[in-house]
């Protein structure tokens, strides 16, 4: 069985996000970029399935410019067997990403697609669901545990009521949540090995995907700045100050 894992290049989770002064986007100048943390968890799970002898090959896929090869190489260093970069200079919206994956699935015929539950940059959480619909296969979203049993998989999902255990037929799309696992550190010699692993570059034309945007982003605004506080002397002053601000 082949497992396909999606990898998105995002602003690192430690970076303090800053909106550009003109509101056109987020400042990425000199900013550290990383693999979307949920995608790292997805890849870790795929690698564990392979190491348990239940899969033969793990393929990491990303759509983006050449810079996303850096994140694909990280995936290869973690242990993926090969990588596919779908070349595009535009930021793709979830439906387009799902269409890209659908076409890659047609070429690769995987038994399982594991994706992060969402990307930490746009927080959409849509690609896995859309892909399952396009592919017409089962989906298990927000998974925190996964067990492959031949033609099916037992998935535990984190839902509001607690943990929901479901059984799905494979092939399927699984989106993983934070508690699924803790991704491994990359071993230094594996970085060297990753340089020699195959990385295939495909264009949207190669795949026959037409990119369409369903959403127009008008602008970004930073969250409002917290106003300077004052220290009140006593409760009487507190009440007065609240009244002055129309809060009481």
């Amino acid at each position: 069985m082949k497992i396909l894992v999606g990898i998105k290049r995002v602003v690192d989770y430690n970076v303090r996000i800053r909106v550009l002064p003109d509101g056109s986007g987020v400042d990425t100048d000199g900013v550290k970029m990383s693999v979307n943390p949920f995608d790292e968890i997805a890849l870790e799970e795929a690698l564990r399935i392979k190491e348990a002898g239940k899969a033969d090959e793990v393929i990491v896929v990303s759509a983006g410019g050449d810079e996303c090869q850096q994140q694909l190489r990280t995936g290869l260093a973690m242990g993926a067997d090969r990588a596919i970069q779908v070349q595009t200079s535009e930021a793709l919206q979830p439906l387009s990403v799902a269409r890209v994956f659908q076409k890659v699935i047609e070429r690769e015929d995987p038994g399982l697609v594991i994706l992060g539950k969402q990307a930490i940059d746009d927080d959409n959480s849509q690609t896995a669901q859309m892909l399952a619909a396009l592919w017409d296969r089962p989906q298990a979203t927000f998974a925190s545990s996964m067990e492959i049993n031949g033609e099916s998989a037992t998935i535990i999902r984190e839902v509001d009521a607690g943990l929901e255990t479901i059984e799905i037929d494979l092939p399927a799309v699984v989106s993983v949540d934070l508690r699924m696992n803790e991704p491994r550190f990359v071993k230094l010699p594996d970085i060297m090995k990753a340089k020699r692993k195959p990385l295939e570059v495909l264009s949207l034309e190669d795949l026959g995907v037409a990119v369409t945007d369903q959403i127009a982003v008008s602008h970004f605004t930073p969250p409002p700045q917290r106003e300077k506080g004052i220290i009140v002397e006593d409760t009487a002053q507190l009440v007065q100050e609240l009244k002055n601000r129309g809060l009481l």
């Binding site: 970076v15 100048d29 991704p183 010699p189």
Partner: protein
């Protein structure tokens, strides 16, 4: 414990700063067949680099002819120099000393420049490994340096192996180049082990703090280089500020002060914040926002403090050795020259022997010799230092005397018998409010569940002698508020907030008892500076 996995290289470079990367690039240009590894503890190249920085381009011209057609991401030609002597509210323009004339120099982000240099090195097939800390030296059976041992990852605070545990590998090489930057923790051990500072004065340091601001349109004048001296420091504390005007409405502002300050109650971070509230500076920053901030120790000992830079199997170069030119306020060109010189030496001789003599006969040390008396002259206060500096400058360092240099950890005065000068500090209103607010902009990150990387060798001293003698200066000199004294059942105990650490090394240097030992945390930990 299983035997560590081993990788072999011809040359290992520890630290992807200007010295190490220049060395790797030059070496690969000269001998493409050499296998070279560069180990870097930051999560990516440049993320732990913090500098002004105005640089002299000479070594770049030497290393990468044609770089001007493909410059580093932040690179603005210097248009104008200004030096100001500040009082609390006033200012007076001082003549620019010749060392500080910056015509032909460039304002860069050294962090961005190192990332750029790393891409040049990788294009030459140098293997660069960011996110891995060279935790220990690997010695050969003969006792020579024979490479490094990468720190283990996935170890809990209590020392247990976590699920993610990964044993660090050994990297073996006949030649190791230590370019760790100021107070490199391996360099420190090797200087001691091989007694490399036997014939030199103690090394001395400063602390530099920096913020990158985006200011209101029109406030930044790209290419303007400003320095200040005077307020908020008293006449006995060496230091001053830099204000470098970048493009895109950005200003890099920073403050440097000598770690030979005497006042046990002094807070360098507060001095920096005070300076920003001087009317001249406040006006520039008002209405702007901080993009990144951080701190790093600066090596100031110069010629007198330069240790021997070679030992069996290894060389120490750049700020780890201490080649920064203090009167010029520049170290990058010196570090790069060291890297190039080390590469030439290794390429020509395939050995380390003879490098120290070669370095001392090079423009690197000639430059340090000329200015050797300027920094120590300021031991006797600002004005005496100023006059001596002028004399030394006019005579180009040809006077026969050489002033000696004292260790920073010995300069702190005890509380009893010390009266702090009136610093005329003011209420301030520009961000950050305090050190914790500042650390936020350093985007520093350490997994909390790992061993504390700031080792206190004799913890009892903190809650006994140090309280009485110095009132725990670590709680003040650390720019990231790592050290706190907390009440614990009537006594005061040291609490170390290691996750805040920005790897500046000030504590390792300034602690009067020399009981703080900075070691490498898990690889990839530490600040994530942006364009610093």
């Amino acid at each position: 414990m299983t035997a560590r996995e081993i990788m072999e290289y011809d040359v290992i470079v520890v630290g992807a700063g200007p010295a190490g990367l220049s060395c790797a690039i030059r070496l690969k240009q000269a001998k493409p067949e050499l296998m070279i590894a560069v180990i870097e503890k930051a999560s990516e190249v440049g993320a732990h680099i913090l500098s002004g920085a105005v640089i002299e381009p000479g070594p770049l011209d030497d290393l990468l002819p044609g770089w001007r057609d493909d410059p580093p991401p932040v690179c603005i030609p210097v248009e104008k120099d200004e030096i100001w002597l500040l009082s609390q509210k006033g200012k007076r323009r001082l003549p620019t000393p010749p060392q500080q004339k910056n015509h032909g120099n460039f304002i860069v982000s050294l962090g961005a420049m190192c990332a750029w240099l790393a891409s040049k090195a990788e294009a030459l097939e140098v293997d660069i490994f960011p996110g891995y800390a060279a935790a220990e030296i690997r010695f050969t059976p003969e006792g020579a340096v024979g490479g490094v041992i990468i720190g283990d990852m996935g170890i809990g605070r209590d020392g247990r192996q976590k699920d993610t545990y990964m044993q660090g590998i050994e990297i073996h090489a006949p030649i190791t180049i230590l370019s760790e930057g100021v107070r490199g923790h391996l360099s420190k051990q090797l200087i001691k082990k091989f007694d490399l500072d036997r014939d030199s004065d103690p090394q001395t340091y400063g602390i530099g703090m920096k913020e990158l601001w985006r200011v209101q349109p029109g406030k930044s004048k790209p290419g303007l280089v400003q320095h200040t001296a005077g307020w908020p420091l008293d006449g006995n504390t060496y230091g001053g500020s830099f204000i470098y005007h970048l493009d895109k409405d950005r200003i890099a502002i920073g403050f440097v002060c000598g770690l030979d300050y005497q006042d046990p109650e002094f807070v360098p971070f507060e001095a920096f914040q005070q300076m920003k509230n001087h009317p001249m500076v406040h006006e520039m920053l008002e209405g702007g926002e901080i993009l990144s901030s951080g701190a790093r120790a600066i090596v100031e000992g110069g010629y007198q403090s330069l240790p021997k830079t070679e030992m069996p199997g290894a060389l120490i170069i750049g700020d780890s050795a201490g080649t920064l030119n203090v009167p010029k306020i520049k170290g990058t060109h010196q570090a790069m020259r060291c890297g190039i010189l080390a590469a030439d030496h290794v390429a020509q001789t395939s050995a380390v022997e003879g490098f120290d003599a070669r370095l001392r006969d090079s423009e690197v040390v000639r430059e340090l010799y000329k200015v050797r008396n300027i920094r120590p002259a300021f031991y006797n206060g600002f004005w005496r230092g100023f006059i001596r500096a002028a004399i030394e400058t006019v005579t180009a360092g040809k006077l026969p005397t050489t002033l000696s240099v004292h260790a920073d950890d010995s300069s702190l005065q005890k509380l009893a018998g010390y009266t702090a000068p009136d610093r005329q500090w003011v209420d301030r209103d520009l961000p950050p409010r305090d050190r914790l607010a500042s650390v936020y902009f350093a985007a520093t990150e350490h997994d909390e569940d790992q061993p504390v990387h700031l080792q206190i060798l004799e913890p009892d001293i903190c809650s006994t002698r140090c309280v009485e003698e110095y009132n725990n200066p670590c709680t003040r000199f650390c720019p990231a508020h790592v050290y706190e004294m907390v009440e614990d059942g009537g006594s005061r105990q040291l609490q170390i907030n290691a996750a805040n650490c920005v790897h500046c090394k000030t504590c390792d240097i300034k602690d009067p008892y020399q009981i703080i030992n900075w070691v490498t945390p898990e690889g990839g930990s530490g600040p994530n500076y942006q364009n610093m």
